[in-house]
Symmetry: D2
Subunit: 133 residues, 4 copies
């Protein structure tokens, strides 16, 4: 399968990411989503850092998370990312975070492509042509 | 108006909360939402820290954010929180984050009430009776 | 006293800043130091955001922290900052973080003044002339 | 060499860890230090999560960082950790963070061993006997 369609990474929970309830703070997971997007691009031969240097900037315009269970310090999580739609100026991804067979978090994001002046610009061809789920 | 129904706080953007795009990182705003929830409770005479000590634990089960504009370092933001629904074991809040008259972020959360063993428990009466929007 | 010499702020501990040991994670306090530096400048009539826009960029080159006690969620801390030395291209500050009369953290930072190209530049006069502790 | 004496990990810089100066925020590096400590223990056959569950809690009592250069988004950093001293109730580590051959950050921490009631306790034998640098 094209890695730009579906990809997964492993993330080890850091101490700093937990909170006094003993679990990962809910605002941590969007960072795991972002790591998965970046590694998905890399697996597809694209460095997001290079993209930005070339003036192709992706900004998050929408985020949704559903928290079903709580990860704890040192958990080794699998973060799965899937491209739902890549069209015009926007890409929608969905995510599942698992610990073993247990689903802890599901979510989605929409990123929009802007230029260095902050104006929307069409996605580059290689992003627009990602086969979607 | 009952502060437990609608409340707002001011938040000053910290340097650490910005990212290399020069704006506040999108995973920061849920922390502002959380600060607003905590201060809303305090304004209503409730310390969330005390609640937890009494075994009433609120965990975030759902989060949604729409990013319309980007805050930058040192912005003084207004974070408005409103109780949409407080019933059974759950409270739903919605949020608007503004810089002056400009809306930067809207969002919502659902928190569920659990006991120290992690089981759902009914909201205490004073939370269940919050007049909703 | 000149606020640029000695100043203090209050900081309310956020949930996200705690960790699974139930206390504020040690990497959080440098952010409180930074907030105190920024507010100290503001109290002295200087917006650090404006300074950066004028090409006067302060980067942290040294950090030290001693942790004597642990803050917990919702603590209202006092963060005291004092200018120890402001000379050439560098400013040294020292910090004390207290909860009531209890000292929780002491520390220091050195910031260096650079230009937008990343080269050291002398501190502006109004920073170089801060009376030191 | 005993991994508990000297060890290194790789860390990929996340977007959230950068700030508006375009580099990694200075309060991020202590988290990289902590990841290195945890992985050093794991390489030596010790899970820090298990240690805590057995009532052996390590808390940071001292932190020092010197910032020589700035990492940027997506840098693949090497974080080297070395045990300087492990005696009584405390372990001192030192760190070097490199990007290729360039040293970006050096630092040290002291962790103290406490019990679940927060009282100092002697390091377990397997930690006290770490050969030091």
């Amino acid at each position: 399968m094209n890695p730009l369609q579906k990809f997964q990474i492993e993330v080890r929970v850091r101490y700093q990411e937990t909170d006094a309830q003993g679990r990962v703070h809910h605002a941590t997971y969007p960072n795991y989503f972002e790591c998965a997007r970046v590694e998905m691009l890399r697996a597809g031969g694209i460095s997001y850092a290079d993209l930005e240097n070339q003036g192709v900037i992706l900004v998050v315009t929408e985020l949704g998370c559903n928290y079903l269970g709580g990860a704890v310090f040192d958990d080794l999580l699998v973060v799965e990312v899937e491209t739902v739609r890549a069209k015009g100026t926007r890409i929608q991804h969905q995510y599942v975070i698992r610990r073993g067979t247990e689903t802890l978090v599901t979510g989605h994001t929409v990123v929009a492509c802007i230029n260095p002046q902050g104006r929307p610009q069409p996605l580059p061809d290689f992003l627009r042509s990602i086969p979607s789920a």
